[in-house]
């Protein structure tokens, strides 16, 4: 066992131990975050030159998948943190202020959160109403956000806003706000079916900072090239982890049942083949999509084909994961339905109900259909 595997095992044990309590009480998984910090995993995607480990996206996905298998909310929190790191690394690491921030993230194990939703625009990532008010070298900003995950625990907030007060709603910039320069008031409850530990409350944000904290690149580019595809890949990894654990519980239940009955015949056993097939497809899709994403990184511009691919990945993985958890419940029967048993899959099922809703699959499917219409055949038509 190498040092990383050892650290990861310790983190997974902490996450597993606390998963039920986090789910029941809707509290933030503080113990798991402490374990992640202790293992210095919050800076894992920060380049080595800035004090991080420079791990690849696929390595980060494996960690999120493993953590998601133990505690869905913890896996999603780490995924959301890594998405923000990926945005800073890909779009701001050569800017002195953001370079210094990345060094701090690695050195001090800072937690990053995203403030993209807005009361007046809902979940539309590509629209903002709030705008920074510039005053000399400094800015101040206010934003009413209906859903911000772990806002009160984050050390850095990446906030979307219009470029300026007179800019169109779609002309956005991303602003890195330090927690010490922000007032974060929780104004709404997060009493949900699943993913309860993400503490994605409604938040009223007041913040200020230096103008150089506003990323120079258009947010549209950052979203298209990094935030959206990396989100779909890391979310997909978490959902695959949750679904994988549900399937493992179903297998364990069947083994026990078959041992007790002295027979390998069980009326629900055939569901395992569908679950196993779905999981294999999910893992293969993740692997393929990660390779495509890495290959496209060097290209000067993204394309509608890539956007369609990454959208389809999100829709397909979220639906497949939910299907796996549903089948696990069918296999485990009352042992799966009841909370507190080693075969309980209620939490998995409830956590995964969020997957089709995180950027609603219906909206993504409609947009993807439009993107697919634009694509041309690779072969000449007669």
């Amino acid at each position: 066992m190498n040092a990383f595997t050892g650290h990861l095992s310790a983190i997974l044990a902490v996450a597993s131990k606390n998963a039920a309590a986090v789910d029941q009480t809707g509290c933030f998984p503080n113990e798991t975050l402490s374990a992640l910090r202790q293992a210095r995993l919050l800076g894992s995607m920060v380049p080595r030159t800035m004090g991080g480990d420079g791990v690849s996206l696929s390595a980060a996905m494996e960690t999120c998948q493993a953590l998601g298998a133990c505690c869905g909310a913890s896996g999603m929190i780490l995924a959301m943190h890594q998405i923000q790191i990926a945005c800073l690394v890909s779009h701001a690491q050569h800017h002195p202020w953001h370079q210094a921030l990345l060094r701090r993230i690695a050195g001090e194990q800072l937690l990053l959160a995203s403030v993209t939703s807005e009361a007046t625009t809902g979940g539309n990532l590509r629209t903002s109403d709030c705008a920074p008010v510039l005053d000399g070298e400094r800015f101040r900003i206010s934003k009413e956000a209906p859903t911000v995950s772990y806002a009160s625990k984050a050390d850095v907030l990446l906030v979307t806003a219009r470029r300026a007060e007179d800019a169109p709603r779609s002309d956005q910039r991303l602003i890195a706000v330090l927690r010490e320069d922000a007032q974060v008031e929780v104004v709404g409850e997060w009493d949900t079916l699943g993913m309860r530990g993400t503490c994605s409350h409604a938040v009223s944000l007041r913040a200020e900072g230096l103008n150089c904290q506003i990323l120079e690149e258009e947010f549209g580019e950052i979203a298209e090239r990094t935030m959206v595809p990396v989100s779909h890949l890391l979310w997909g990894a978490v959902w695959t982890g949750i679904a994988g654990d549900a399937e493992a519980r179903a297998r364990a239940w069947l083994r026990r049942s078959m041992r007790q009955n002295g027979s390998t015949s069980h009326p629900a056993a055939y569901h395992l083949t569908e679950m196993s097939g779905l999981l294999r497809t999910m893992r293969a899709r993740l692997h393929d999509a990660t390779a495509c994403f890495e290959a496209a990184r060097g290209a000067p511009e993204g394309s509608p084909a890539q956007a369609a691919d990454t959208n389809l990945l999100k829709v397909d993985l979220s639906e497949a994961a939910l299907r796996v958890a549903l089948l696990a419940m069918r296999v485990c029967g009352m042992a799966g339905y009841r909370n507190g048993t080693e075969f309980s899959v209620g939490r998995h099922l409830r956590d995964l109900q969020s997957a089709p809703l995180m950027i609603h699959n219906d909206r993504i499917a409609a947009d993807t259909a439009t993107l697919l219409v634009a694509q041309r055949s690779a072969f000449p038509r007669g």
Binding site: A167, P168, V373
Partner: protein, 83 residues
């Protein structure tokens, strides 16, 4: 061509600024055109000029401005007439 493409952009790009603020070198994405709206613009241009964009043309660079759209349409027209 400029007049026709400008009309298409005003009709299909769903810009969030007054019409008079649109110029041939304006950044259409900065003026509010979304990636999805580029498909509407593309289909309208294909219909108006009887051309078909290739997959290589389906990128932000093509749709960045009226100027860049005019360049692509000119290129596609030349390809049609070349032997």
């Amino acid at each position: 061509m400029e007049t026709e493409i400008t009309k298409i952009v005003l009709r299909s790009a769903n810009l969030s600024v007054p019409d008079e603020e649109l110029h041939r070198n304006s950044d259409l994405f900065a003026l509010g055109m979304s990636s999805l709206a580029t498909v509407d613009v593309m289909l309208a241009i294909e219909n108006a000029f009887d051309v078909e964009f290739s997959n290589e043309h389906l990128c932000r660079k093509t749709f960045r401005s009226i100027d860049s759209l005019m360049s692509v349409v000119t290129e596609l027209k030349q390809e049609q007439t070349s032997p």
